[in-house]
């Protein structure tokens, strides 16, 4: 009876421990994430100070993050209202982008891979995006073609939005990232 209980406790302990590890790695549990509106930045990944959870997740996914002096990378899995990005809705990205030498906005699958989209248009860079006379820009994420900066979304496939700021003054002070300085991600019409 006692041997059985020991065995059971061992098996339960092993499974629980490995499950916790799997969960932490797949859900990207990491400390020191920066949140600003819908944007989440794992800024310490690009430094020697990445925590053990971040290191484990990076190794598991084979990711190569950019270094903190190269730029900052943010991911949005939700819109401004906190709702998960819905593939049957259109979205607008507008408003301020923190000062950077270049920025890019791109659409990826929740696992971080490219999506099969029309025109192979996966994102925009600050150099190519169309701006109005006052310098404002709006990027529209939609499954069907739009005038202006149309970022095609794949029909019926989940996506996330990535914002990267290259050679930005923010690097030195990641604490200065607030929702007011970041672009808005608002939901438009839903099919």
């Amino acid at each position: 009876m006692s041997a059985f209980k020991t065995l059971l406790a061992t098996v339960v302990g092993l499974c629980l421990g490995l499950y916790a590890t799997w969960y932490a790695v797949e859900q990207d549990v990491a400390f020191g994430n920066v949140r600003a509106g819908p944007w989440v930045g794992q800024l310490r990944n690009g430094t020697r100070e990445a925590d053990p959870y971040a290191r484990a997740a990076l190794a598991r996914h084979g990711e190569t993050p950019i270094g903190l002096t190269e730029g900052l990378s943010f991911i949005a899995r939700e819109d401004d209202a906190g709702a998960r990005l819905n593939p049957s809705c259109s979205y607008h990205i507008s408003g301020p982008i923190p000062p950077a030498r270049y920025w890019t906005i791109s659409l990826l699958s929740p696992q971080g891979h490219l999506l099969p989209v029309p025109l192979d248009r996966h994102g925009f860079t600050s150099a190519e995006v169309l701006r109005d006379a006052r310098g404002h820009m709006v990027i529209e994420i939609a499954a069907s073609a739009r005038p202006g900066n149309w970022l095609p979304a794949p029909k019926g496939r989940d996506f996330v939005v990535m914002l990267r700021l290259y050679d930005t003054a923010l690097s030195a002070n990641a604490g200065s990232v607030t929702a007011a300085t970041m672009p808005r991600l608002t939901r438009g019409a839903c099919a």
Partner: protein, 196 residues
């Protein structure tokens, strides 16, 4: 008290087993998290080792929905130079065109970034980086001329094996070839090769 049988409180009879299992789970969790960078089969270094021979600058293929590393920026063209310092020092040299964004990150064996910079770090458009171990640095410094400042940037790598990722921004899709050119014009290899 119905829980009492033969003088023992059965409510607590499973407690040692419960806490034992929880304790073991904690240890397994911590050990596996710390072991992950050493055990993960598809980590960044394994990917680079499959894509590029050591001490050579190789352009990585453009990502597709089926291939490529997760969370890479599709606007970047990437090149990699993998190294093994047990075979010698590594030198990265480039003449950089003014004001074209070039990102450089230096990764250790577990993929971690131990140094990073952009083209802005180049002096007068010239980039000269030497990747060394602590012992190799001592050797290099011993051979430095005393009245001259070294012209290269010397970085001590935390692990013998690692890789340098060079990323160049293609401002628009039609400029991708230029971005590729900027990377393939750089040179990366064992230090001292091809010199008298």
């Amino acid at each position: 008290m119905t829980h009492k049988t033969r003088g023992r409180d059965t409510r607590f009879i499973f407690f040692p087993w419960f806490f034992g299992a929880l304790f073991l789970a904690g240890i397994v969790h911590i050990v596996s998290i710390f072991a992950m960078p050493w055990l993960a089969p598809k980590d960044a270094f394994a990917r680079m080792a499959a894509a590029a021979p050591a001490h050579q600058l190789i352009l990585l293929p453009d990502p597709t929905p089926q291939s490529g590393a997760p969370y890479d920026d599709p606007a970047l063209v990437q090149g990699v130079c993998r190294y093994d310092l047990s075979q010698g020092r590594l030198r990265l040299r480039a003449m950089l065109p003014p004001d074209e964004l070039l990102l450089m990150s230096f990764h250790g064996r577990q993929g971690q970034v131990y140094y990073s910079m952009t083209d802005r770090s180049a002096t007068r458009g010239v980039l000269d980086v030497l990747i060394v171990t602590r012992a190799q640095l001592d050797l290099v410094e011993a051979n430095d001329k005393e009245d001259e400042l070294p012209q290269d940037l010397r970085i001590i790598a935390p692990t013998l094996e690692g890789f340098i990722l060079l990323r160049s921004l293609s401002e628009r899709p039609s400029l991708r070839e230029e971005a590729r050119q900027r990377i393939s014009s750089m040179s990366c290899g064992l230090d001292g090769e091809g010199k008298p």
